[in-house]
Amino acid sequence: MAKVKVSKKSTRIDMTAMCDVSFLLLTFFILTATAKMPDPHPVDAPASTVQTKLPEDNLATITVGDNEVFFNVLGREVRRKTLERISEKYNVPFTEEEYTSFSLMEGFGVPVNQLKGLLAMEPAKRNEPGYQKGIPFDTINDQLSDWIKFSREASREFLNEEINSGKKDVKYVDLDIAIKGDADEDYTTIKRVIDILQDQKKNRFFLVTGLRDEDF
């Protein structure tokens, strides 16, 4: 009589390969994730059902909240070129360090005459409440309009340089403008910003919104 032997199988699995793969993926996601930069003025954008994505480059964002306006343009080169033009118009010379510091700054909201003071500050201190009170944008002292105009010129110059240097996949497009308004902002402030854009014949722009479904 032969005994039927029940072979005892181990319940443990070798997880080495699984662990390898998961950490590989983890590393990939960590590296590709773009760190969210702190805003000088956090706003709560209203929600909409439209799902157009914002362009990822060649974009200037105007943040509007509490009657204050903040400006940010993407790309270090474009920022530097924008500041060069502002420096020329307002007769404020900037040092090389200040240019570098400005090109690394994500958004700001101070009048031109306070820009030097802001650039001299530690980057972490700049976003503390109370330091940045918005860019003047009324009809008498319309600095926002200059920032938009010069950043569009700067973006044009930058793209032209890219094209002339022989980069094939660069196309000339006008700088896109996005308005990121706070949900509780009064329409008059937004209207003023839109008017500034329209005065520069910039009639198409993006409104940054959150996401919701149609059931509201």
């Binding site: 443990r12 590709t32 157009t52 994505k53 509007v64 996005a178 990121k180 009064d186 329409y187 940054v208």
Partner: protein, 182 residues
């Protein structure tokens, strides 16, 4: 899953046995953690990309004062007041085809009005895309930006092709005031 090595060398005066160490490490907890983090990073990277809505305004040319004639039965005007209030009327303000009436934002309010009007315009003018309903959006100074986005969103939901943001006029503000919406 995790193994705890309890007990150990209980006997006294026994021989010191060299323990056979297990060469495999229990990776379960590590894999758990890794997948948790992967899920987190996957979700946050795709969700953090901001959504946006396109807005095209008409060209603002001070010399160009021509106004396009719009048939009254196709033009619907939305007046926006404070605190999520709105009025709508059909036709011209002086002699509206449908008198200004109040409604609310959202699917039970202005969306129903828009859908009704779109249907009635369609029954008169046919399926022609250029002859659809024209919506004129007039926010007042007390309107919150959120409400403007709400209305623009309704345009996208109800698929209104022709709409414009206009400036509110004096009598229209007066009407809003009378109704306590300004």
């Amino acid at each position: 899953m995790a193994e705890l090595n309890t007990g150990g060398d209980g006997g006294k005066g026994g021989k010191v046995r060299s323990k056979k160490s297990n060469p495999g490490v229990d990776l379960t907890a590590m894999v758990d953690l890794a997948f948790l983090l992967i899920t987190f990073f996957m979700l946050t990277t795709s969700l953090s990309k901001p959504q946006s809505m396109n807005l095209a305004m008409p060209d603002k040319n001070p010399e160009d004062t021509t106004t396009t004639e719009v048939p009254d039965d196709r033009s619907l005007t939305i007046l926006m007041g404070k605190d999520n209030t709105l009025l709508w009327y059909l036709g011209q303000f002086d002699e509206p085809l449908v008198a200004p009436s109040a409604t609310q934002y959202g699917k039970d309010g202005i969306r129903q009005v828009l859908l009704q009007r779109i249907a009635s315009v369609k029954s008169v003018y046919g399926e022609d895309k250029d002859k659809g309903l024209i919506v004129i959006i007039k926010p007042s100074d007390k309107t919150h930006y959120k409400n403007l986005i709400d209305i623009l969103d309704e345009m996208a939901i109800t698929n209104v092709q022709l709409y414009a943001i206009g400036d509110i006029s004096e009598p229209e503000v007066k009407l809003l005031e009378e109704k306590g919406m300004y």
